[in-house]
Subunit: 310 residues, 2 copies
């Protein structure tokens, strides 16, 4: 129970910020947790469930006297928030963010913060398909990566203090260059999400197959896609608009590769398909061995107890 | 505990057949369960774990005297098996299969079975990413759909008896035309699998991002794809080769749709993206309401207890 920051200001009170609040409180890491959300409804819920010690109507008010400010708003809203809080941030404070893209956030936020503030961009690689102040839970970050993309010349002591907080709430922290981060994320997260959205859209538009059939018969494949396609639309719109270059690059490669497999199907090239499908198994084994997923069949989903019918 | 079939012959002893064996035994639905697998290793394992009452070296031997024969081999192997067992099947027996495509299986199998046998093609829409005789478990079919595509003129009494067995092991049974089945499956299962294989292949080939990075940072999206891309390569090769028309149709629609979203990203059309992503959320809700997936965040995955590190 070491207090690492005297006052933490959470700007935005969605899944990530509310999980941070629960986790920091469970570990006694923050002297005081102050929150702000743009929506009055969100602020009311935060008050009702006691998410923060104080909930402020404006971001500028929330950051006053904070030694750590966490920007946990959609990527597209970062610049406006930075402009609003820049003049009010305490001298020597650390500012971090939790945006899923880093180059665009740095370009939007860094110029608007005063020189006496240390901005350490960050990205917790954890999430569920839920959002909002009620969706958070203290163990969200357990064994998940939290990438930091510090700017050149960042004070090592401040970087270590932030790393200490994130490690204490369960995350595994790594640092990398912002551009590399954005490419890695385009591969492991952004493009998979776009593809999942697309597949769900195709099913929705196909007239010969009803939506109720799609829903009923989703157990062998499709439902895995719908989970990630149920994520927050605003967050994802901003991700694609702000990580455009890397996403378009990876999408181009994806289409090429898909056409190779599509042609093999058309030509009846079973050997190519079998070799391709065999290779992908090895990557799955690597993910399980790295502790990034469960090896339980079907993700360990518990079978529904709903009664059977015909 | 009503014995519905005096002797059930399981041809092929993978995930589906071994789960059927466990489930039928748990409910006392079969007088005797006889099994056959092509691989001696699989037969040895089946004997070792007591999966069946008897394990036969040939399929022809296994089906003798059986009143229900279940063809649970890859779709590409169905014709050879049907040719082998056709002359040996008892008069009046019911034959069903568990292949993921139906039109091609009917074309391959039906002509090789004698007229006194009732062939009722079937497809259990349940599975995990595991395969082999040890992968089965009695509750695999609980609340999952099992589609039957009976041929015109099928004896209703025999259809009802098979339906009774499948319902007793937990499945929800529905019947439909084979062609419609193949299109529905192309949408909800086959195309999603191909796309997942492709995405995993793209990540594997991308030189700037190492496989260890892909594996480490897979938690926000990518790992969901790898689960289905770890499925049995032989089964999936056969699915794509035998459901070619429907898969190519759906893939064409998928590519069109993907290009619409890709163009929106390139042009910065945030409104289109937001509207698209909002619509897909509704389908996810439908799946949860239909009891075909868990609403627990992140599929109810249990966080790994592996120690944290940097």
């Amino acid at each position: 129970m070491t207090v690492l920051y005297k006052r933490v200001a959470l700007i935005g009170l969605g899944l990530i910020a509310s999980s941070m609040a629960h986790a920091m409180r469970a570990q006694g890491l923050a002297g005081e947790i102050v929150g702000h959300a743009k929506s009055a409804e969100t602020r009311d819920i935060a008050l009702e469930i006691g998410l923060c010690d104080r909930v402020c109507t404006t971001a500028a008010e929330a950051v006053q006297g904070a030694d750590l400010v966490v920007l946990a708003v959609p990527v597209g809203a970062m610049a406006e928030i930075a402009g609003e809080i820049g003049p009010r941030i305490a001298k020597g404070a650390t500012v971090t963010d939790v945006g899923s893209v880093k180059r665009a956030v740095i370009a939007a936020v860094a110029p608007l913060l005063p020189a006496h503030v240390t901005f350490i961009p960050g990205h917790p690689m954890a999430g569920t398909e839920y959002s909002g102040p009620r969706s958070g839970f203290a163990t969200l970050f357990q064994n998940r990566w939290w990438l930091l993309t510090p700017l050149p010349g960042t004070d090592p002591a401040r970087l270590e203090r932030l790393r200490g907080l994130l490690t204490a709430i369960g995350a595994r922290v790594d640092t990398m260059d912002a551009d590399h981060h954005d490419l890695v994320l385009a591969v492991v997260s952004h493009t998979p999400h776009l593809i999942a959205y697309t597949m769900v859209g195709v099913a929705d538009h196909l007239a010969q197959v009803s939506n109720s059939e799609v829903i009923q018969y989703s157990a062998t494949g499709f439902r895995d896609f719908t989970r990630i396609a149920a994520s927050d639309p605003t967050m994802w719109r901003d991700v694609f608009l702000t990580n455009k270059d890397a996403v378009l690059d990876v999408l181009g490669r994806f289409t090429e590769e898909l056409f190779v497999l599509q042609r093999a199907i058309r030509m009846g090239d079973g050997d190519l398909l079998h070799a391709y499908f065999t290779r992908t198994r090895a990557i799955r084994r690597g993910i399980i061995e790295a502790g990034q997923d469960t090896s339980a069949p079907d993700f360990g989903r518990v079978a529904s107890t709903k009664s059977t019918g015909s």
